[in-house]
């Protein structure tokens, strides 16, 4: 079962978990939902965590897996249940609301435009400071895949941020 010290380590990680979730999700509320779902799953899976290994990488892996699953499920739902234009309408109205948000800076906008696989690579390495090897393990991809995603993601960010200083 989950021990008290596991719990305390997890509590200490909460601010960084929340930041990673915000980076992945489309807005603050989605980010907090993702964070909460991650906490629940981490508590259930606590016995699988190897003491002495990095808890942050372990938790990030849980989080990005939930996020990927939900993104896929979301796409399926839209394709199955909503006529295509309606789906587009919903999505563009959502995007417009996000763009209009005062809190949303250039960096947020540029990050949201990245394909998800580039966004998670950028978040893990540039924001959370994981080594390439650790980030590749979190994502479950080869190192070469990670670095090429990083290169493409950074090029796109530089283009976007260069245009809107």
């Amino acid at each position: 079962m989950a021990t008290a010290h596991f719990g305390e380590e997890l509590v200490k990680l909460l601010p960084r978990m929340r930041r990673f979730a915000r980076g992945l999700a489309r807005d603050a509320a989605d980010g907090d939902d993702l964070c909460q779902a991650t906490i629940e799953r981490a508590l259930k899976a606590a016995h699988q965590w190897q003491e002495g290994s990095r808890l942050d990488a372990w938790v990030y892996r849980i989080m990005r897996n939930i996020w990927i699953d939900e993104a896929r499920a979301g796409n399926r739902r839209r394709q199955t249940f909503a006529p295509e234009e309606e789906g587009e309408h919903v999505s563009s109205a959502g995007d417009a609301a996000i763009e209009a948000s005062v809190e949303l800076g250039n960096v947020d906008r540029a990050m949201r435009r990245l394909p998800p696989e580039q966004r998670e690579a950028v978040m893990l390495v540039l924001v959370e400071g994981l080594a390439y090897k650790e980030a590749a393990e979190v994502i479950g991809c080869p190192m070469g895949t990670l670095t090429s995603r990083l290169v493409r993601g950074r090029e796109a960010l530089m283009r976007e941020l260069g245009e809107t200083p």
């Binding site: 509590v11 800076g105 400071g129 390439y132």
Partner: protein, 249 residues
């Protein structure tokens, strides 16, 4: 020499072995396009970190911590766990820079935000030449005016010096390292048996022909690098003087 985008980001992210890192540092000294690409990658990294840093400082919903503590408390409530202290210690020695780090370095970077460019008189010949940086025993080592600035100047007293020392610190192996900023090159050098070994080199604070420019962003980049390398706080004026008196050992 061809340097791929993958190598550039690995260089900036600190993922390269020493040999590969030196190769790129050398190449950047003579290739202004490469130096600028490196600077742009560093600037992006810094911009993202600055943007997301406040999020990890913000308080999280109290209910989250409560639900975790409820789920992980033993049947008797408080659980005494001998392994906890060890694990906590390991987590604390992790990568995240403690908050108290920010103020001393931020102050140093700010103080040096306007760097007078009077370093232009030095002949810059890149590696192997008689410039401020030479290759020696497979490492890049400071020479000439840069070496003497690193040897003698204190960060607290250097009005009008051609190279400014932005700060000094000790890294994990206890070597003294110094952050410098000059017109032709800026960087971080650490004291070793064969002189001041260059750990990072960025383009200088002044373009040829310009008197000065705002060097704040470059200096901030160096401060971030220094912070990653350092063990503890930067040296204060007294500690720096003491280190100089002991030959930077």
């Amino acid at each position: 020499m061809t340097i791929t985008p993958e190598e550039i980001i690995a260089y900036v992210d600190g993922e390269l072995e020493e040999g590969a890192r030196n190769r790129i540092t050398l190449a950047a000294l003579v290739d202004i396009d490469l130096a600028e690409r490196i600077a742009a990658e560093r600037a992006l990294r810094r911009q993202l970190q600055a943007h997301y840093a406040p999020l990890a400082e913000a308080p999280v919903p109290a209910a989250w911590a409560e639900s975790i503590r409820r789920a992980t408390a033993g049947p008797g409530g408080e659980v005494v766990d001998l392994a906890a202290a060890r694990v906590r210690k390991a987590a604390e020695s992790g990568r995240a820079a403690p908050r108290w780090w920010h103020s001393p370095w931020a102050g140093a970077a700010m103080a040096a935000s306007l760097v007078l460019g009077v370093f232009v008189g030095i002949a810059w010949q890149g590696a192997g030449g008689g410039g401020p940086i030479v290759a020696r025993d497979g490492a890049l080592v400071a020479s000439g005016d840069l070496a003497s600035a690193l040897d003698t100047q204190l960060a607290s007293a250097q009005d009008g010096a051609p190279v400014r020392i932005l700060g000094s610190f000790r890294r994990a192996d206890n070597d003294v390292c110094r952050v410098f900023s000059g017109a032709m090159a800026s960087g971080i050098a650490c004291h070793a048996a064969n002189g001041w070994q260059l750990q990072h080199v960025l383009p200088g604070s002044t373009e040829p022909g310009q008197a000065y420019r705002q060097a704040g962003s470059q200096d901030a980049a160096l401060m971030t690098l220094a912070q990653d390398m350092a063990k503890g706080d930067p040296l204060d004026a007294g500690q720096e003087r003491e280190a100089r008196a002991k030959g930077w050992r």
